[in-house]
Structure formats: C-alpha cells, structure tokens
Symmetry: C2
C-alpha cells in the first residue's frame, strides 16, 4: 500500500465553488486534482493499492481509495467534481466516521494531525535536505506527505519532523506535489533502481 497525504491550505471546505475557476476562487484545487491523477493513473489502468488523503483547510479529509475507486477520470475538472460531491456530504461526517460520497471516495471530519494519527505505514517526509531517494531503502508501506502550492507551515513541518520515519529528496530541484508523486511511484516501481 502506498499512501499520499496532500495538504490543501487554501482548499475549499464547502461545496460552493465553481468548476470553472479551480486555480482561482477554488483555492488551487487544481493542484490537489493533479495529485489524485498522479497517484492513481497508469496508462490503461488504475493503481488499486494506493490511497490519497486530501486535507482540506485542516478541517476535512477526502480519501480516494484505489481498491474501490470508480468514476475517476484524468482531467482536473471531473476530479474536482468528485471532491465537491464529497463536500456535499460534509454535514453527515460526524466524529471521525467516513461518509462515502461515490465509490472509493469518502469524507471525514479530520485535519492534518488526526489524519496522520490514523494512518499505518512509514511516514516519508519529502524534503530538500533529505537523503537522495536513490540512496534510501524503499519502505514497504510508505505514507508520503506533500503540500499544495504553499510550503508546509511551521506547525506542519514540526509535526512531520517529529513523526517521519524517513526524510528523502526526490531530485536536485523542488517539484510540484503532483510531479513528486509521479517520481515517488516511479522509484518504487523500479524497486530502488535495480534494472527492471
């Protein structure tokens, strides 16, 4: 199981946003949609053994689970519609119970720290000062934590530093979150850089 937690600092926490303005009024939801795309899509298949957790405004977390996922298309707009459908059900998300809004998509009333608490696996902090990923032993059940177009806040970075099992860098230059997911997948796919 590979998991990706993506923090959407400006992301909407209500469904009243327009699909025509994802990069504007919808708080850069386009970034999160591309992260979902990168996490799941292969050329003619979905990665089933993947989960993505989008933390929206530190208030809700929308989880996409590859094992059950249906109706996911690669474009930003249709993915944003799935997120909007999840936010439509936010009032039903009581305590930490998930509410499934479409197959494989669920919303929980949970912020970043609580989401990390709930996940099993090895927490991987992507950081420019981390070990080059080529030199790191790939963990079995990695949980990668990424941020949207903003850097991690001090509080988030501190939480990550405390909890991370591994701190790696994916390359010599900082990448967009969705590109980082693609690179992370490729490194794991190629099994730590053996010939494949």
């Amino acid at each position: 199981m590979r998991q990706f937690v993506v923090i959407g600092h400006d992301a909407p926490t209500t469904p009243d946003f327009a699909l025509d303005d994802l990069a504007g009024a919808a708080g850069r939801l386009d970034v999160l949609c591309r992260c979902v795309n990168s996490a799941f899509f292969l050329s003619h298949a979905l990665r089933e053994d993947v989960r993505v957790h989008l933390v929206l405004g530190d208030e809700f977390t929308v989880t996409f689970d590859g094992a059950d996922l249906r109706r996911l298309n690669p474009d930003e707009r249709s993915t944003a519609a799935l997120i909007r459908n999840a936010l439509d059900r936010r009032e039903d998300a009581i305590g930490h119970q998930p509410v499934e809004s479409s197959p494989g998509v669920a919303i929980r009333r949970r912020g970043f720290a609580a989401t990390l608490d709930a996940l099993d696996g090895s927490l991987v902090h992507l950081h420019e000062d981390g070990t080059p990923v080529v030199d790191a032993e790939p963990p079995t059940d990695p949980v990668f934590v990424l941020s949207d177009h903003h850097d991690f806040t001090d509080a988030e970075a501190s939480l990550l530093s405390d909890r991370a099992d591994l701190r790696v860098r994916l390359g010599p230059t900082a990448l967009h979150a969705d590109h980082a997911i693609t690179v992370a997948h490729n490194y794991l796919d190629t099994d730590g850089f053996e010939s494949y």
Copy 2:
C-alpha cells in the same frame, strides 16, 4: 535543451472548443495541457531550457518555448486557453513560418513528420520494449516523442523506429504521457542516477 513532441490525435485544429469540456468535445486536450505543465513547471520556477511541441491533428504544431514563455499557469484550463489563442492565429501560419500568439507560444502549419524533420537533437522513442532508462546513457539534447491517450498509429511508430537514436523504457508499467515527461525530467535531473 530538452524537447518533447506530443501527438494529439483527436486534438482540435480550430479554436471553436469550450474550455469547460477539455476531456470531451475538445478531444482530450486535457492530456496535452498536463504535458505542458509537466514539461515546464518546477516548484517555484519554469524550466527555461525546454521546448514542447504539441502536434494537433497532424495539421498544426503549437510550440511552447521555455526561454520566452510567459502567462503559463499550471492548471489545464488556462493552458488550453493559450492553445486556443494559438489556433486563433492559424490562418496567419503560412508555409512553415511560425506565428507567435503569446510570449513563447507559436503555431506552425506542420504535422508530425515535418515537426520531427525540423528538430535538432537525439530522438528518444519511449517504448515498453526499450532499454531501461537506468541503463541508457542520457543524451545531451534529447527529443522525447509521446502520444496522447491513444497509442502511436502504425505510421507514426514506423517513422519513430526509422529515426530514433535511442529507445528506452521509463519503468515497468506504461505511463500517461505527462507522467512520462515528469519521470524523464527526473532521470535527466539526477544525471543518470548518480547521487545528487
């Protein structure tokens, strides 16, 4: 210089498409927009030493040149608007002369074969039977050729086989074109898998 040629088999060749339906009536222009994103964006910068050539319906080629590029944003919709602006100028593209529609974006009346003819560099054919990229010597000025959501046609594949300087695979599983661009960049960035 890294260059990427992306064939849009169903892509529009006129500007009369809606930005609200990129994945539908606009012939999966969303795929090409994500390719542009992957080719140029770093976390807080654009890659200046990159060109992307989008072949639209084997009739026009829209080139994005990182050295001059302005007004590029990461989301699909705004990139599609730049392509639409280029198609608005298609009648001015006479012979093989480029017409610049916005800074760093130009349209030419040129199909796939003519686009390949015009490019300098080492042609890299991404192919599932190619040499694992980890075992290949990275070329200095690679020209990667990719296809949208369709496979290459027989004619395109034959042309590529004839002309390719190198045939590589990026991993054990076939990827979407935009993800392939991200992985190709990362391999080149990390300089043939040395520690960085």
